[in-house]
Symmetry: C2
């Protein structure tokens, strides 16, 4: 391709809303242009790299035996009502109505569509397993889209769904995808961190996230330096530790009854620890949370007996409920874990008026003792606490000598703490450290969540109808592309991996004229005839401008052809500092071997 016939337009400066390298470089190199908030369009040069990422994903999935399909992007809301997610997906789902007033969905994911499509033709166990995938447009109405295509509203996702007869088969399908993912990321030149996690409320029995380290990562990873444990902080657990008193000894039970004490003008737990001359671990911190769409059964909780409960097919949920969450004073509540434990779509700290109503006191005096207006959820850290301090459900009042189990009984005890660096690995006991990361891919054993609610069955060998179980598998294509740039760039621009470069080689003449033009054309023809993708910069620009553009766009190999050097040409790898002079006659063969050896290394 010649520059004059291609649409390249680079920018000297990146737009002010681009704060991360990949966003800045994709805008500056002209790969993408912004069409709206969170809506990025790929220009020809950007699309070339995007398609290469897609192609590698497709090849590896096809090799693994997955089958590509193409459901529609616009889907009937009916399907989401069947699965029960119509109400629980939240505001990220764009739900237009069609001209007949029917609810539609702009697909944010496609469990429902694949389940419905596979359901239609499924009759016998002989047809299973099926693993089908698509690489297609998705839309999520992110509240704050940012980082360019890293967290846009519209994006391309590869999403795959497996349908298996039994757990063993699901395990095999899952392993197939895991293996394909490792090959995909290797070929793309990405080092991923594998984060295995319990999948909580989703009802699955296994999951693995493929993360890349990134300073601007959306996710915080909790990592063990010894056994390789890696978890998203949203889901990380740690080895339970025993609550200690101010001297560092395990807390001891007390026989004293709990007692009211006045605590005027004491605002924080640290203040309270100083006031009572104790440590923060002696406090049971109590937080009131508003819970949306919880589907745990609260019917036995006195204060929840009249709570609005919605039946939705086989499922039910409480559109709104409140809980009092207790945790040791030095710890924080992990809302993602809490949300999962409550099988809810969202949890958030309750508004002041709700706190006042539930605790019968101003904010700051919540506690589990005598709590009658909300079920008490205890973090596991409370289990080893004794002789504790809690809020007194009254202004300027706390209780001391509180014994969990004696003075209050939690409705549920669960692990809802935020794990931090310094906590211990639950597997080997080593001390955790932490890194920021971005999730590129996810594999997930779903179980029968969708096949059950959407009534999918097959006939087993004995002719009995059985519900198949599913796995789901996703890769964010755009953010994978952006992550390659995040991991491969310098101050001058992108340093493409050979497998994802828009063009593998740039030929840059000092001037596209006379003998230089002849040399350029000769090398261009030689390389393209060997299947190498070459961009020939035939523009009438100063050499400095062309060099800067080549560095910014980041072609892996750059060949400079100048009349001073001829019959030698200068060959330079984008990833290296120094160039070498090679006779034009030998340049073609040399470059072909550079490109193919690097591709072989990535594909190997």
């Amino acid at each position: 391709m010649k520059s004059s016939q291609f649409l390249i337009s680079t920018l000297r400066d990146s737009p002010s809303d681009a704060v991360i390298s990949s966003h800045q470089l994709m805008m500056r190199s002209g790969m993408i242009r912004k069409l709206g908030n969170g809506l990025y369009s790929y220009m020809p040069i950007g699309l070339r790299s995007l398609r290469k990422v897609e192609k590698i994903i497709r090849e590896e999935l096809d090799n693994a035996g997955l089958l590509e399909m193409k459901p529609t992007v616009i889907q009937p809301g009916e399907l989401w009502k069947e699965s029960g997610r119509w109400n629980t997906m939240g505001a990220e789902m764009l739900k237009p109505q069609n001209r007949g007033g029917q609810d539609m969905v702009v697909s944010p994911t496609a469990e429902e569509a694949f389940t419905a499509l596979i359901r239609e033709g499924l009759s016998s166990y002989k047809q299973l397993p099926i693993i089908a995938y698509q690489i297609n447009t998705k839309y999520r109405d992110e509240i704050r889209p940012r980082y360019g295509v890293m967290r846009g509203r519209e994006f391309i996702m590869m999403d795959a769904y497996s349908f298996d007869a039994d757990q063993k088969s699901l395990d095999e399908s899952y392993d197939k995808c895991a293996k394909a993912y490792r090959r995909i990321f290797k070929r793309l030149g990405l080092n991923t961190i594998s984060v295995k996690a319990d999948t909580g409320a989703m009802g699955g029995s296994g999951s693995e996230e493929f993360m890349v380290e990134s300073e601007v990562g959306d996710d915080t990873l909790i990592l063990c330096p010894k056994c390789g444990y890696a978890a998203n902080v949203e889901k990380a657990t740690c080895k339970p530790d025993v609550a200690v008193d101010k001297d560092g000894n395990p807390q001891k039970p007390t026989d004293k009854p709990y007692e009211k004490i006045p605590t005027p003008d004491v605002k924080t737990i640290d203040d309270l620890a100083a006031f009572l001359k104790t440590n923060t671990q002696s406090f049971i911190k109590t937080l009131i949370y508003k819970v949306t769409n919880s589907s745990i059964d609260l019917s036995k909780v006195e204060c929840c007996k009249n709570l609005k409960r919605v039946q939705d097919g086989d499922n039910f949920y409480y559109p709104e409920s409140f809980v009092a969450v207790c945790i040791r004073g030095d710890l924080d509540v992990n809302e993602a874990k809490l949300c999962a434990k409550l099988k809810a779509s969202e949890v958030e700290l309750a508004a002041e008026e709700d706190v006042v109503r539930i605790t019968t006191a101003p904010v700051g005096f919540a506690g589990p003792v005598k709590m009658v207006n909300a079920p008490v959820i205890c973090d596991e850290s409370v289990s080893t606490m004794h002789d504790a301090v809690t809020g007194g459900l009254e202004k300027d009042v706390h209780f001391i000598h509180v014994e969990p189990g004696r003075d209050f009984t939690p409705f549920m005890t669960a692990d809802v703490r935020v794990v931090v660096p310094g906590d211990k690995c639950p597997e080997c006991g080593e001390t955790f450290y932490s890194k920021k990361g971005n999730e590129l891919g996810h594999i997930f054993k779903l179980g029968d969540k969708y096949t059950k609610s959407m009534h999918v069955t097959y006939l087993d060998q004995s002719g009995k109808p059985v519900t198949p179980i599913m796995g789901c598998y996703g890769i964010g294509v755009d953010r994978t592309l952006a992550s390659i740039i995040e991991g491969h760039h310098d101050d001058s621009g992108i340093i493409w991996t050979m497998s994802t470069a828009p063009f593998q080689v740039a030929i840059v003449p000092i001037k596209y004229d006379g003998v230089m033009k002849e040399a350029c054309d000769k090398l261009y023809d030689e390389l393209t005839s060997k299947g190498i993708e070459v961009l020939l910069d035939d523009r009438n620009e100063r050499p400095g401008v062309k060099f800067a553009d080549a560095d910014l766009i980041g072609y892996p190999v750059r060949v400079v052809i100048g009349d001073k050097n001829l019959p030698n040409v200068e060959v330079k790898l984008r990833s290296e500092k120094d160039a070498s002079l090679i006779p034009l006659e030998e340049a073609g063969a040399k470059i072909v071997s550079i490109v193919n050896e690097e591709l072989a290394r990535l594909n190997g």
Copy 2:
């Protein structure tokens, strides 16, 4: 690919809503499944053929120098407000609001998006021409989706947009696309009819539709057997003919003043002709139309002076207006032509109450004489009429001896008649015939409609800002695929063209076992190693079932391997009746040459 590892599930019967062959066969062969009304998903076998159509389109456009991009599918409504189409696109455009309450559009077409994206980087004439395209998801909220993917709501469209400095350059871009289109349809094995048409209200100066003949075509084509004139009936014009009297002589002017006559119980024009002992050509038929979003200037029409008029950027339009359309009694009004002439988004016959209000009479007595409540639009056929009969704007009253020009003055005279077989070609005077057809592609000189309203400029050689002009070019990918089936099938199923078959060859063993299995595997390996796409039917089904599926799905070449024939195998082309026995040893080479020769013929 082996059947057991592929998701094929054929149906004996087609669903009752499938009334055309391609829809029936796509459903029965398992290419597509329905996800909702007008929403069809491609299953693995269908997607293979769809991708082949896309690939051929992509290759030919790339060869022609077009550049692929990928705008988002969800687009900001702002862009459509800029171009002025937000209000005029009608109910086919799905317009969800995002969580911030901003208007969004699910792209039904992408003039606005491409114009905005190209605008951003355009500065100099040196960058022009640019022809960019996408192959991407579109959505149109069809009021009555039908015929499967032929007229679905969601579909894949290739849409290209050219940006040129001047008319000469636009002509070149247009010709480039026209040439690429001809190659595309040839390679796909489709015979297209080229329909050139004046583009009316769209403001363009040239267009060409690529149609395929189809009994269930949406379009009626008016064709000249002599000079090749071909036009969509929506736009077809004919050689004007002179209005004649009942003796077949040109109508003669009359000096008599027009005169009221009673016409009780006369319901139709034929009744009236009998009653007045004259011919239908002597009547001026007058129809009241409701017009939506007309942008012709009605400010000089007395009854329209207070009509609501909306200013929208540089444009204006009347959200609702009414016109009285006059046409010779034996002709019909072509609403598409009328709509174009009125620069409107829609025209429809006025409701009874509006007719009564405008004509001050019951339905059936409209006429142009003394018409004061709506502007009179005359078809050109009225121009040669004399001594005519019209409605009297009063119950059971007509006027006779009406002289157009003397007794009424039209606001506008335009060609709005329906052209029918038997009318004469405007080019050569030959008699027209007619066919049904489906539009697969369209190329269109747009002019500056979008670049002007969206303020796109480039600097010309003298540094002066100039508005570029555009062309737009579309191919409906799904309906192209369906049209291949419409044109290539028999009672047993699809007969794929070699370039679009999901697999080029099916190997069908009588039983996949023993020596037959060995022979199958050997031939499969030989063919796939030569790049042939083979489906090996390894299912444990009766031979009859496998043969019927192979015929239904329509693989171009079928090889039957049975122990009775071995070491010979039976090779049969789907398009031919008879099979031939060939030694297994020779079958591979023979089939490779069949496939490659046919591909070469299509690509040649």
